[in-house]
């Protein structure tokens, strides 16, 4: 033995090589490629920071411009495959292996590259799972991260989009890795220290501010009557029924419609203060009317959202903010909060099968899952009760000692029976299984497994899967809300009516909802402009969402 400091020595050598291109820790944007070529080694595990929101885009461009003869066969371990450069590096041979979570905009290209064998795929993780592996078997040798500003000592201000940064740095800096941060500007004093300077080895002053995708902005103008109907059913049939106070909403127009119905429809039902008070949620612009109407007590965020910074700054009683006044988000903590401290996750998916397994992976798109598999799972480690959790537990448990009964997290799929271009949401078999077979994955990319799902809400009704007593009932409950899809038309009408009589399936009329009342007039805001008005002018939507 005797060699206990090899990694540390290697790290020191990388940093020494990198210093040639730096003034202290500061590297000019033009020297990024030189820097990366001097600190990277073939086969390194590299975390290039980027998730569904912020992107270390300057460093991504730098990495993709490296010489593949010098830098090759990297193992990318990162949350998001979002920028074209994230995949370019696999085409040039700079990178070879990939473990990731999310790939929304690059979903189609990643599918092609997987089929073409250009990427050796480890796994498609949920965020928290990938973060966990950073500390066990996917620890990065080099982390390339993004922040708003840094001082010359490397103290880093991430701004409201802190997101993954603390987790990535923690895993890299404390295990002999090298941390490079791109920042929009070098300042004398940062507004607040999100990452202490002794964890940051190099600071690159980027040519342009890092990119942030406004992923959680849903334009109320695009909401349909069907989405409003589904939202009404969810509020009355689930939120009110279970008294859901602590929750997370996935992305989508259905959940955004719920947010916009709270101050109108929810108010009418007398639910204010009784539901939707504590959130693990990005700062959705569509939540503004509910916040302004006094529905929301507090919100912890995974990341920020473009245009919401001034609003958040003026609402510190609601959001988590730093001494400087701006939002402090943290993806790892918020994912943990969603897992253990929320009683419900409600989100959407692209495909649901007859048992209730769901996935956003289709044959032509591998979009990844982000946080959904985590938020949308029932944590068996939970040990604190709540009314909602206990009620769901009682509904789901029919055998065993009641004294040993535990609760259930509500995991709700909110879907329209058909997606864009009349593609059915309900299918006999998930495309994910076909994809797994084709590219030889040991584990099919299922987003939420059937045993975690408790309810499916469609425009046809709510299926409460907790109340199903066997596989056949479960299948018929799902068919019974699958509308005019083939799966829906393949229902056994007698069995479906029996399930309805038991309350396993509930139609709008069973909930006292008239579908023709599902009108856009119910939305607290009908446009982005309305949201700006609700915020008192504090919300500053990105240009692409404006029509004024």
């Amino acid at each position: 033995m005797g060699e206990w400091r090899g990694e540390r020595r290697a790290r020191d050598a990388r940093i020494a090589a990198g210093r040639a291109h730096a003034d202290g820790k500061v590297v000019p944007a033009g020297a990024v490629v030189d820097l990366l070529e001097s600190i990277l080694r073939p086969g390194d595990r590299v975390c290039l920071e980027g998730d569904n929101q912020k992107q270390a885009d300057c460093l991504a461009r730098g990495l993709s411009a490296c010489d593949p003869d010098k830098i090759h066969d990297l193992h990318m371990v990162q949350s998001g495959i979002v920028l074209p450069e994230h995949l370019d590096v696999f085409e040039t041979g700079i990178a070879k292996r990939l473990d990731y979570s999310y790939s929304g905009p690059q979903g189609a290209r990643i599918a092609k590259m997987l089929y073409g064998g250009q990427i050796e795929l480890g796994a498609v993780h949920t965020y928290l799972e990938l973060f966990a592996r950073y500390f066990v078997d996917l620890t990065p040798n080099v982390a390339l991260i993004a922040g708003v500003s840094a001082d010359r000592n490397g103290n880093l201000y991430t701004g409201p989009n802190t997101e993954d940064t603390p987790t990535v740095v923690e895993a890299t800096a404390f295990k002999n890795g090298v941390v490079v941060a791109q920042v929009n500007e070098i300042v004398d004093t940062v507004p607040r220290v999100d990452i202490p300077g002794d964890r940051v080895d190099f600071v690159v002053e980027a040519d342009t501010p890092f990119y942030v995708e406004p992923l959680f902005t849903r334009d109320p103008a695009a909401m349909t009557e069907t989405q409003i109907l589904i939202a009404m059913m969810a509020i009355k049939g689930i939120y009110a029924e279970y008294g859901i106070r602590r929750l997370n909403h996935g992305i989508g127009f259905g959940t955004a419609a719920i947010e916009l119905l709270l101050p109108t429809y929810g108010e009418k039902l007398g639910l204010k203060g009784k539901i939707a008070t504590h959130w693990a949620l990005n700062p959705h612009p569509t939540l503004i009317p509910a916040i302004e109407s006094g529905w929301v007590k507090q919100v912890h965020c995974f990341g920020s959202e473009v245009g919401m910074d001034r609003y958040i700054r003026e609402r510190p009683d609601i959001f988590f903010t730093g001494a400087d006044g701006s939002l402090r988000s943290n993806r790892a903590f918020c994912q943990t909060a969603g897992l253990y401290a929320c009683d419900m996750f409600i989100g959407a998916t692209l495909q649901i099968d007859l048992m209730g397994h769901s996935s956003t992976v289709t044959q032509s798109r591998v979009a990844g899952f982000g946080g959904a598999p985590n938020m949308g799972s029932d944590p068996h480690g939970r040990r604190h009760p709540s009314d909602a959790w206990m009620k769901a537990g009682r509904e789901g448990q029919i055998v065993g000692d009641p004294a040993l009964m535990r609760g259930r997290k509500l995991v709700v799929q909110l879907v329209e029976t058909f997606g864009d271009k009349l593609v059915p949401t309900f299918v006999e078999k998930l495309d994910a299984l076909e994809l797994a077979k084709k590219i030889g994955l040991e584990l099919a990319p299922v987003m939420i497994y059937a045993d975690d799902v408790t309810h499916i809400v469609t425009e046809e009704g709510i299926a409460n899967l907790l109340l199903c007593r066997d596989a056949d009932e479960r299948e018929q409950a799902i068919r019974g809300v699958a509308g005019y899809t083939e799966v829906g038309r393949g229902r056994d009408r007698t069995k479906v009516e029996a399930l309805r009589a038991r309350g396993v399936i509930r139609r709008p009329e069973d909930l006292g909802i008239e579908p023709l009342d599902a009108d856009r007039a119910l939305l607290a805001a009908k446009s982005i402009k309305d949201l700006v008005h609700w915020s008192g002018g504090l919300y500053e939507p990105p240009a692409r969402f404006r029509n004024w």
């Binding site: 009557e225 069907t226 109907l229 425009e459 509308g483 005019y484 038309r489 579908p515 023709l516 599902a518």
Partner: protein
């Protein structure tokens, strides 16, 4: 374009006396429905023009459910479809029937 026509016998006429009504707009994912009270009180005819071929059985099911539910006797219903999803079709049909009942 695909043309579909479905004829049904209803148990009763649709209440009300509005002679005709129109609802919806022909746009992507939407449709317009023209309802005219011109048939015998126990008859309903639904004629559809759609740019998306191959969904005849879905239309058949949607129309049958609507007729069973609304009993739109006396109505000739003409649909210009812009590629609407079945749930939108159902909603518009019910909206149209309500207009005729006024």
């Amino acid at each position: 374009m695909e043309s579909l026509t479905f004829r049904h016998t209803t148990k009763k006429p649709l209440p009300g006396s509005v002679p005709s009504a129109i609802t919806g707009v022909v746009a992507s994912g939407n449709l317009e429905i023209l309802l005219e009270r011109v048939l015998p009180p126990d008859a309903c005819e639904v004629a559809i023009e759609t740019p998306i071929a191959g969904y005849g059985d879905v239309w058949e099911a949607v129309v049958a459910d609507f007729v069973a539910r609304a009993q739109p006797g006396g109505l000739r219903i003409s649909i210009n479809d812009g590629g609407a999803r079945p749930d939108t079709v159902s909603l518009r049909l019910l909206q149209g029937a309500r207009l005729m009942e006024a």
